[in-house]
């Protein structure tokens, strides 16, 4: 299983998903109405490393984080 966490203002509980890559994650999240608005402006981290493409295989135990727009300071 892969754990997916939603950070900051995204009001959504973590998911435990049986997925093999970020393409499969995209399909799951696109079907979620409340997530659609966040997909456009959110970044993705796999095991706390930001990734720049969907071309990432996921393994058992990986953690994915969804990061909406930031504003520190």
């Amino acid at each position: 299983m892969v754990r997916v966490e939603f950070l900051g203002p995204i009001q959504k509980e973590p998911l435990e998903l049986d997925i093999k890559n970020l393409n499969e994650l995209a399909e799951v999240l696109k079907s979620d109405n409340e997530m659609q608005k966040w997909l456009e402006n959110s970044a993705v981290a796999v095991n706390d490393m930001l990734v720049s493409s969907r071309d990432i295989e996921l393994r058992e135990g990986d953690r994915v984080a969804i990061l909406p727009p930031v504003c520190g300071g």
Partner: protein, 135 residues
Amino acid sequence: MPSILKEWYEQEANSNYGAYIPFVGTVRDEDDIEGLSFDIYEPILNSWFKAWQARAKEKGAVIKMAHSKGDVMLHESSYIAAVFSPKRRVALEFIDEFVEDFKASAPIWKYDLKNGKRVYALDRSTALEGSGILK
């Protein structure tokens, strides 16, 4: 003044740095807010900051940072950074680059406190590099 500025200064008192430039960000009274509130995702913030510490070291400099979590009221400081460097030019450029990248890259989310509620400051926020790959 935030006491951490003094602590940092004392930590480096014998390090022979010629320039010390802190940056102190304070919550302004504007738009009828009561204050700001922050969420921080520490694992990514820490690795981002470690990369900046390595960049500072390459230039013979040191960078320090502190950020508030949760609520920060008007006129309180929410964010403090500082660079120590042998030379002023390095310090002036470094604090600018660091603070700008902090705004663009640090995994921190800001909320206005209005009528006791947290309102996500979407219009002042910046999408991280690589955002939108799942859309």
